[in-house]
């Protein structure tokens, strides 16, 4: 075993760490108020080549992502970003997610068409499966419909939680082909910005936290999508369990967020004069233990992806995400207790972390994640992609 970063991993870790500290941190409060995508931060990613993390090397990318050569690399960038700004980390996650999808599911022509724009011009992608009411309907039961017409599909429906929706150049979206079962009719399409019939729903983004990860709703009214903008065969996304390939990108955000709270605490408590307090010491120690127990699960799971042990990688990614959320919540509870209320001024970084983390940890139903793992070990049917 070897638990050291490679030089490239170290470089990215340090680079993003510096960007986070010097650039993202001072801007975080602003985007939190605006509730718009952090365009300056995205420009910093662009300027530093960080928009191509999960694109393969043949197109000039860095070859990270779950199906890439070094799955850890982009996770480090997400983690380090989340340490100062969870919203920006989610933006990087979703862009990395979208571009990784095109890279691995798209045809060579599509890869070149879309991804070279990312690599060369810093174009932004996202990926949106969510729709209102999906939790109770089931994740692949989409009401957004795709009707087959000559040369493509006509799409109608409503998608929500479209992160980067206000700035993305390519929106990857999911729709259900009319009259087909979800497993066979789950369609993955690329809808470029400005496509006729695609419109942002005004005032559709105003959450308590994660406000900078602007994720408005999109209305699709008779949007025509040509065949060369369809990614893969219908049903490829559920069939290849792509959702499971993005668990770790979330886990890295929770890890980074917990580290961010820890950073604030270890700076704040000595100044507050309570560093000598037995219980402050206990809780800070417990938080540290929790954080490290998350970290090595994430890295280990990433490593399993790199070895192509897909099922084990999916399961351990789920485990890592579960533990990351569990720990993030525990971290908030214990941190609040020792920080006290004066640390929670409305415009403070601490308050922002709490609002962000409170919301963002709800991307997964923790109980269902654990039950999935349990099903596997009890010999029951299970689905590693299931998400709230």
């Amino acid at each position: 075993m070897d638990f050291q970063f490679t030089p490239k991993q170290r470089e990215i870790y340090e680079l993003v760490g510096a960007l986070a500290k010097e650039k993202f941190a001072p801007r975080a409060a602003k985007y939190d108020v605006l509730a718009t995508s952090p365009v300056e931060n995205l420009q910093d990613f662009r300027d530093n080549g960080l928009l191509k993390l999960t694109i393969s090397e043949d197109l000039g990318g860095m070859g990270s992502g779950a199906m890439g050569r070094d799955p850890v690399l982009y996770l480090l960038a997400i983690e380090q970003t989340a340490r100062v700004d969870m919203s920006t980390a989610q933006c990087l996650h979703i862009h990395s997610h979208g571009s990784h999808l095109i890279d691995h599911v798209g045809t060579q022509e599509q890869r070149e068409h879309f991804l070279l724009k990312v690599v060369e011009d810093g174009a932004l992608c996202n990926a949106t499966g969510s729709e209102p009411g999906r939790t109770s309907r089931g994740q692949y039961n989409l009401t957004t419909s795709a009707e087959r017409v000559d040369g493509g599909y006509v799409i109608n429906g409503l998608k929500n939680y479209a992160t980067l929706g206000d700035v993305a150049d390519f929106n990857i979206m999911f729709a259900g082909v009319v009259h087909k079962a979800p497993s066979m009719g789950h369609l993955m399409i690329v809808v470029p910005k400005g496509t006729p019939g695609l419109s942002l729903v005004p005032d559709s983004w105003n959450p308590m936290g994660m406000r900078g990860a602007a994720s408005p709703s999109f209305k699709l009214e008779n949007v025509f999508v040509p065949d060369d903008h369809v990614l893969g065969e219908p049903g490829v996304y559920p069939r290849e369990r792509w959702q499971a390939k993005f668990h770790l990108g979330f886990a890295a955000q929770y890890l980074g967020g917990a580290e961010g709270i820890f950073d604030i605490l270890t700076d704040y408590l000595p100044k507050r004069g309570t560093a000598g307090d037995s219980y402050a010491q206990l809780r800070v120690g417990e938080i540290r233990i929790g954080i490290d127990s998350v970290r090595w699960l994430i890295y280990r799971a990433a490593w399993l992806w790199s070895r192509g042990e897909i099922q084990q990688a999916e399961l351990l990614s789920l485990e890592a995400k579960h533990r990351a959320i569990d720990n993030a919540v525990m971290t908030m509870d214990k941190a609040a207790q020792v920080a006290g209320s004066s640390a929670f001024w409305a415009d403070s970084a601490m308050a922002r972390f709490f609002r962000d983390m409170r919301i963002h940890t709800l991307h997964e139903n923790l109980d269902k994640t654990a039950a999935t793992i349990g099903k596997f070990y009890l010999g029951q049917e299970f689905d590693t992609t299931a998400r709230l």
Binding site: P207, M208, A339
Partner: protein, 388 residues
């Protein structure tokens, strides 16, 4: 044993419940945005005849408060208010304490003058010992100083977290008498509205939650307080462990706040279509159990005050508060998990409840309250008044 409300308790419970549902809940968002004292709500209390809950019957009050004939009565009002608006419940809590202090410790002249105004005009009171940096210095190590002069004291210093500070007829503030060591020099003073030398520090109130319990920092600059406005004898507060008499109405706030979250879930989850989910049912049940386990501790502690078993009551009140906080935090964690992120739009009731409850539960460091109980049972010296 008998676990039933008296007629008057039931009346107050129902009346405040109705006010909360019909009035406070609807105004909560607006006051939160403005971070202002909810004067309309306080007016509603006055109109309902509830401003004198903790004032003795001889002055026309209802005789509640820890030292009163029915300690539970005002706790029910606080609890029911907290269910709909935690900020308002904190305001009524602090007013009840200020009034109870004057009632129990004030001279006949003070009671007549000050409590008369409460009963007839709905005057408000408060009580503030807090100062910046007190957590590290210790509960009774006040920096605000009262220098003895002819006919009274000249006070200099800074008090923070003065809830209702802008609205009360008298700010009851605590200081240290110059040249007299603590705790003997700990003195309570009544600062009449408009007294010279008392100003509100600009921008001193902007927390993440509990925003409508407007609690600014007061600056005291050579503020002259006459002998007629000295409350009790120096040192009465630490000597009689008055701080311990306020544990329960914090506990009532946490109980009501948790109940408010529960109320929300009981309505929201079935609408969301997830009431049949095994894990939603599990967490919902756990939340309910937690709430009940806090409730009966609070009510039983109130009964101990009523029986004047003071030492028992102090200890048990601390115990009840601990469990109420612990439970409130668990309730938030479990509730968030089953509510999901869509319930947390910035202007949603649930988001407000979470911000408020998160902040308000930090009034106590629960590790320390547990340790105090442990000290007692292990035969070590202990202090039931200790607060963060």
């Amino acid at each position: 044993m008998d676990f039933e409300f008296t007629k008057q308790q039931q009346d107050v419970y129902d009346a405040v419940g109705a006010l909360g549902k019909d009035k406070f809940a609807k105004r909560a968002r607006e006051y939160d945005v403005r971070a202002e004292t909810p004067l309309e709500n306080m007016k509603d209390f006055f109109d309902a005849g509830l401003m004198g809950m903790t004032i003795s019957e001889d002055m026309g009050g209802m005789g509640s408060g820890a030292m009163g004939t029915d300690p539970l009565l005002y706790l029910l009002a606080v609890e029911q208010t907290a269910r709909y608006c935690l900020s308002t419940s904190h305001c009524i809590h602090i007013h009840c304490h200020g009034a109870h202090l004057v009632d129990q410790v004030g001279t006949p002249e003070q009671r007549e003058r000050i409590l008369g105004g409460v009963m007839s005009r709905g005057d408000m009171l408060n009580a503030t010992a807090s100062e910046p940096g007190r957590t590290a210095r210790g509960l009774y190590s006040l920096v605000t100083e009262a220098a003895r002069v002819d006919g009274g004291y000249v006070v200099n210093g800074k008090k923070n977290y003065t809830t209702l500070g802008d609205a009360v007829a008298y700010n009851i503030l605590f200081a240290g008498i110059k040249g007299v060591p603590m705790p003997d020099g700990h003195i309570g003073l009544l600062f009449p509205k408009g007294v010279k030398g008392l100003t509100i520090e600009e921008g001193s109130w902007n927390p993440m939650g509990m925003r409508a319990s407007y609690s600014p920092t007061l600056l005291l600059d050579n503020c002259m307080i006459g002998d007629e406005n000295v409350l009790g004898t120096p040192g009465f507060m630490p000597r009689d462990r008055w701080q311990a008499r306020f544990h329960l109405s914090f506990a009532a706030q946490y109980l009501g706040g948790a109940q408010g979250v529960f109320d929300y879930l009981a309505e929201y989850i079935p609408k969301r279509g997830t009431a049949g989910d095994s894990y939603a049912q599990l967490r919902m049940g756990e939340i309910r159990i937690g709430i009940e386990s806090a409730r009966w501790l609070i009510y039983r502690a109130a009964a101990l005050w009523q029986r004047k078993e003071i030492a028992e009551a102090e200890m048990f009140s601390m115990l009840a508060k601990h469990r109420a906080i612990e439970n409130a935090v668990i309730v938030m964690d479990k509730a968030a998990q089953i509510a999901g992120s869509s319930a947390f739009m910035a202007d949603s009731p649930l988001a407000l409840k979470f911000r408020d409850l998160r902040i308000q539960t930090l009034h106590e460091n629960i590790d320390k309250s547990a340790a105090t109980l442990g000290k007692y049972h292990l035969g070590q010296s202990y202090d039931v008044t200790a607060r963060l």
